[in-house]
Symmetry: D3
Subunit: 323 residues, 6 copies
Amino acid sequence: MSETKKVKDLKAGNTVDSTFLVMEKELKEFITKEGYYLQVKLGDSSGSIWAKCWEKAEEVASLFEPGDVVRIKGVVESFRGRLQLIFEPEGLERSTEPCNIAEYLSMTSKNIDFLFDEIVQTAESMGNEYLKQLVFSFLRDHDFINSFKKAPAAKIHHHNYIGGLIEHTQSVVAICETISRLYPELDRDLLLAGAILHDIGKTAAYEYSFRIDVTEEGGLIDHIVLGYRMVEEKIKGVNGFPEELSLRLLHLILSHHNYGEWGSPVKPLFAEAQALCYADLLDSQLKEFTQIQKYEETKGKEGVWSDYSRRLNRFFYLGRGKK
Amino acid sequence: MSETKKVKDLKAGNTVDSTFLVMEKELKEFITKEGYYLQVKLGDSSGSIWAKCWEKAEEVASLFEPGDVVRIKGVVESFRGRLQLIFEPEGLERSTEPCNIAEYLSMTSKNIDFLFDEIVQTAESMGNEYLKQLVFSFLRDHDFINSFKKAPAAKIHHHNYIGGLIEHTQSVVAICETISRLYPELDRDLLLAGAILHDIGKTAAYEYSFRIDVTEEGGLIDHIVLGYRMVEEKIKGVNGFPEELSLRLLHLILSHHNYGEWGSPVKPLFAEAQALCYADLLDSQLKEFTQIQKYEETKGKEGVWSDYSRRLNRFFYLGRGKK
Amino acid sequence: MSETKKVKDLKAGNTVDSTFLVMEKELKEFITKEGYYLQVKLGDSSGSIWAKCWEKAEEVASLFEPGDVVRIKGVVESFRGRLQLIFEPEGLERSTEPCNIAEYLSMTSKNIDFLFDEIVQTAESMGNEYLKQLVFSFLRDHDFINSFKKAPAAKIHHHNYIGGLIEHTQSVVAICETISRLYPELDRDLLLAGAILHDIGKTAAYEYSFRIDVTEEGGLIDHIVLGYRMVEEKIKGVNGFPEELSLRLLHLILSHHNYGEWGSPVKPLFAEAQALCYADLLDSQLKEFTQIQKYEETKGKEGVWSDYSRRLNRFFYLGRGKK
Amino acid sequence: MSETKKVKDLKAGNTVDSTFLVMEKELKEFITKEGYYLQVKLGDSSGSIWAKCWEKAEEVASLFEPGDVVRIKGVVESFRGRLQLIFEPEGLERSTEPCNIAEYLSMTSKNIDFLFDEIVQTAESMGNEYLKQLVFSFLRDHDFINSFKKAPAAKIHHHNYIGGLIEHTQSVVAICETISRLYPELDRDLLLAGAILHDIGKTAAYEYSFRIDVTEEGGLIDHIVLGYRMVEEKIKGVNGFPEELSLRLLHLILSHHNYGEWGSPVKPLFAEAQALCYADLLDSQLKEFTQIQKYEETKGKEGVWSDYSRRLNRFFYLGRGKK
Amino acid sequence: MSETKKVKDLKAGNTVDSTFLVMEKELKEFITKEGYYLQVKLGDSSGSIWAKCWEKAEEVASLFEPGDVVRIKGVVESFRGRLQLIFEPEGLERSTEPCNIAEYLSMTSKNIDFLFDEIVQTAESMGNEYLKQLVFSFLRDHDFINSFKKAPAAKIHHHNYIGGLIEHTQSVVAICETISRLYPELDRDLLLAGAILHDIGKTAAYEYSFRIDVTEEGGLIDHIVLGYRMVEEKIKGVNGFPEELSLRLLHLILSHHNYGEWGSPVKPLFAEAQALCYADLLDSQLKEFTQIQKYEETKGKEGVWSDYSRRLNRFFYLGRGKK
Amino acid sequence: MSETKKVKDLKAGNTVDSTFLVMEKELKEFITKEGYYLQVKLGDSSGSIWAKCWEKAEEVASLFEPGDVVRIKGVVESFRGRLQLIFEPEGLERSTEPCNIAEYLSMTSKNIDFLFDEIVQTAESMGNEYLKQLVFSFLRDHDFINSFKKAPAAKIHHHNYIGGLIEHTQSVVAICETISRLYPELDRDLLLAGAILHDIGKTAAYEYSFRIDVTEEGGLIDHIVLGYRMVEEKIKGVNGFPEELSLRLLHLILSHHNYGEWGSPVKPLFAEAQALCYADLLDSQLKEFTQIQKYEETKGKEGVWSDYSRRLNRFFYLGRGKK
């Protein structure tokens, strides 16, 4: 009997009748005969799966576009160690019910509105009126808020899901709050403005309307320079913004990856810039570590050691009591 | 007229009559004639200076030892771009008044008792009784407290002064508190115990009774393995301390420099160990950055750029309004 | 007809009736249906193979544990380019005959007792009574001898077999004997004591009772610090062991990987420590090289060049006359 | 007798009466007594020298500013292996005659107008009207031309003199012309537009009105991002400039240092960008090599080998017939 | 119906009747039964494919050798994602018609005779008679010309096809011509002689009669030292060749990979050697980049980004209008 | 009173009357006046010192050449922290007595004839007649023996003295003897032939008749390729020397620095080549370590730690009982 299932629960042999988001669509030539089959990447909040339709490929392909939600009836197969979903031409139907695409994408487990409020509160605590006005020129811009609450912080690495950017930003802000308590000689407002704005270029560097991918600008210009431009543009709108403060803030954006080999065209040349680097490093690397460790833990491997992780170049210690 | 002056205020041409701490004492052969002169490193809380006595070197040398406080009458000279203090054999007198040697060493600008209380409060907030008991077996050991409140965190790099260790430790603890709020899935008690104990090997790796230097153990074994041994020893005193918890905590100590090339014999194999690395990195590197930037700022160089800093491989931006 | 075969002689299509050592045992969920199958890693002195039983998995699994010797009747299949052994539930029988597990593990080709005698002779030639007494506190400790003669020197890299540790140790001792003839200014006894003891932490860092794997201590603490602790413990048992000598010997253990990135928490700070590094490097790297070259030679590839070796990042020259 | 001499011809003992450009001016505290002396960096087209006036420092300092031309009467001394010029308060006189400051700075040995014409000819040969229009929006902008003809290409490394930028640019253009003949599949116009514009950010990254130094923008933002912004600004003025072409050209600017560790925030992602990298590398590195080799050759060292060059980490072969 | 097809046009399911060049021939043991099958690597100018014959392997294998051209009738299959050609014992026939093996190998798309003429013209323009005579001792040696026009410049990387060496050489010569115009202080003849001869060792380092592979000398000695020897040998034949010039030219050959880690036993010690390095780097790296980019473009992937290229460690930007 | 003294015993203020070897001679322009002074580098077996004659420089310079032995009467001065010898024009006299220049150069402390005999004995033990004949074609060539017994193994690093090459060679041979006992699968004769010949290129790479310096060939070609050529030349003189054996032996010479960045144009491709690398590494690095440690020990610094050694990037542990 066909069932409504999430991607992560699919098993070979299941018959499926569920709605998914179309992330990619491609007509592929057969290797062994003339003609095309249809290959579709389907996703929901729990993951994604490749689906194939062997017949009437062009006709079926014309019924929908990436970004649509479709109802699929089909069968799950195992192919070269991975699962795929096979469906007949009549097994795909474009969903016409209104739906919230965000529900089909994987998302932060934290409360986005709470994260946003935390950031706003930090902004409100700033004493420097220029920086405060600048930060609020973003935080009160509805288009920006919209993107800022949805964007991921990466395609593959840490925080690679809807809401990843704001989750990461709030963490960096929180760490910088701690830093400014421990290092009272730093310019707190400059550091916090940098923390709030450091990654906003990611709202343009990724597409995340119905899948997470790198945009042309994201690949060719990168989020650091994109963010620099966005901040520079808004500074022009703040009357009397001091020139040195502007240079310092832009430098925080540009240098926040610390080293050239990590993507920053300049290295930090004063302490607030250096502080931001380490706050960003701490949160991005620790999140990546925990995401990969979690992935290894869910594999259910016996013994205290995980499989070898190529991305982190080590075995994780899973411990004895992991059950 | 002779004056009581601090080391940092000495100028060529001054005649001096002040008390200093003897940090090093050495008889040196003359290059141009037979015999020896006496060379002494003198210090107070503001810095240190080399002093020389050209005559009756052996006799004068027999009057005092490193660690003594001496009263010196002499003259400041400039020699190859550095200052030195020249005194006559009768210009040195061993001080017999009781004195607090700590007053002659450079020291943290933070309140050491406050830092200690902060750490104790964190320890008191722990829920895991084994870890709490272990941490307090250090924090209630008077010999340990004594060393822990005095030790530096380095000879040359960051926090290289009396109280440097406890200042650094409290910062790492504070950052780990923030981390454990942002990452509730981490074992808070393990992380905080690691933060409190991570550098305690430095109490044995440095000598700091009357100067800061590396001990034999500090050089040949290093603070990481020394700290590991100290923690392992105390764990034996905690009844029923779980074996896995013991391995995890010892691993935090051993891996807290993250990479082999930074001195850790193992790399972090679970998330709390990784978190501790970045908290330690943040505070140690940021402190080093601010110490070096401050040093460059005090030089009073004209223009917005500092001299080139070889240690950090960059020019600092000092800004326009530094006066 | 079923045959008694060694792992290395198995071919697809063979029916097998042999005894093997169970190295791992795991119940695995079917992908395509409910329930579990049984997966077992079987080994003998010539290698290891995965075996699978598709039915009554839980029941069969309850009959034996890793470390047991079992008699298996089954069929060899080729699956994704590798061989596997398929057996029926009744095809597995726990062996109850007494047997020497060591016969089922791959082992050094050298004579272990000869190697041990060589090391003992070197120890006997020592002039420094403290070092001699210390070394014999290991070489006359029966538990230690037992482990020392069995332990491997690695799980994957060089000398990764029973007796690997003692084989490697004897080579390092022999090289250090040569060094001490060429460099008479070195302290021969210190160097040789270091050579004998440098890797003894491996007796605790690996498990090798019925398979070779990394222990919890081995992964979280590593053999260098484990060996350091073992030596430090025994030094306490030697009356009047000089403090400087103790620091020097412990430093040899800790620094013997030469660089932090190779696992040593300190680098060599005097010549005997440096000498030990290169002796260890020579034997470990040369053994690894010959093991990998040998592996490539046995593939029977045509032409003078081996396949590309990723581990050594080169093609081997096999020569013209390799047949 | 006082003489009019160029900096490079000064010798200890000379009395001098010449005009120089003031590059830096600083009041410095005496070490050995109260008060200030005046320190001035003087230059002409052949080099620069520090000059000092021991008396009436504040008064003399008020007579002129950096960027002025002064007539100095004084005496050359050798001090710690370097020459310095000592003058009396009345030995300095601000020059009031009109003068061409450029004559006081070191300059390219090539003809700047010829270099500019070569670049214009290349621009005229472009077939793509958008790129051509863009390039000429720079090459016909008089303010830009002015800066472009004067700016250096570096403060310390290659082409570190007036006209260095245009000399380097013309070389890169010439190499890219050759490349586009050898690789006809590349987009010639895109590559040449990139070659012409790749370093224009240097017109803002350096100050070169009366000395060569890094500007605030140059240090905090760097020439790559500055150039990116200048090009982006001008693109807005070209009607209908295609979006993809714009992204490609901006990518050439941003990626032209090839690697992050050499300052590029993105690496080259298509062939024209990669080609530009190597053309830039060839000219900048080869110029640096020849400048340093020339410097070593002028030292007149005996034998075929130069002194060790730390900047290039080698001895140069000067050859036998260098006289 | 069987068809005459090029390798690049083969599809699974095709029946084939074409002639191919035999590049490799090997008897392989069956895994699942006794005996051997025959495995043959077949190629033509468009690529290569593995072919297999399951029966009478030894008999069929005796009919031909690598380097022969054979006519094959067989069927194309897909196996583990790659195509292979299956033929019956009677489906292979050794071609006895005279044929040009070069037609079966992939080849430069440029005109080899044109490239050679360009190089000769450069040689003719040389003013230094010793260098000119030396260069022509190669360019008029028929055996050398033959090899020089056929040899590849690599097995796997850039210019890995017949004529690759001469194509690369002519490019390097052209770039060096441009360099010598831009840097008139360089010794043009020395630079151009180096450019012409820098890679001639590749004529001995590769075999390319019927496939491209590394020779024994190529692997064990490498093309740099092989080329050095060839040049040194010919210098002996030039009467009165100046000793210093000889050392300089040989140094150009030896140092042309710039760094030890790129294969040069010495680094460039004067400007002509450094210039040659960058000319060689430019052409070899740019060609490799364009070859890999071209390969990715032909995959027909949707969207603006290529697959991830491991060799160049990036995604290529393919652009919007690639169809 | 003037005294006959060795260089290492000179002190400021001494008057000297001794014979020295002239290592360098140079006329230098005065900075502060017209004309030249004479600068001479003088040496004996204990070290070297710069000497200066302020008057009649040209005349005095014409009396002798580098390589001559001279008798000097003069006075030792301290100048910028170094000693120099000042003499009058009449204080220099060219020695006409026959003398052994080798007595004026620093030399190995081992017995050169003993070292040579050890090597000859190893050569005599070889079973492979081709290799044996080849090795003796060197060891019985009187010109070669002469150079081989005198040459240093370096200018600055390890074994940088007369006899350094043969001392190093004998050590490498001894280590390879040990290796071939431990690894009986290696080709002992090939390894030992490689050990004996690996550095013979140094006989041409250095000049050592009256000072140690790098020759033109040494700098431009380097000892590895020079040695390769010498061996290749002699192989031609051995009738029927097998081609593969020749390639293997030449590969040992070329690859013996292991990595490209250490100067080898190829990396080791079979086990004997790899073994030679580690034997060479062990002896060269250990000798360098002991030479630098010894240098630090002779400074007589107080305390257990040496000064910081930049060449080895560490402090040495000198120990407590060094007096």
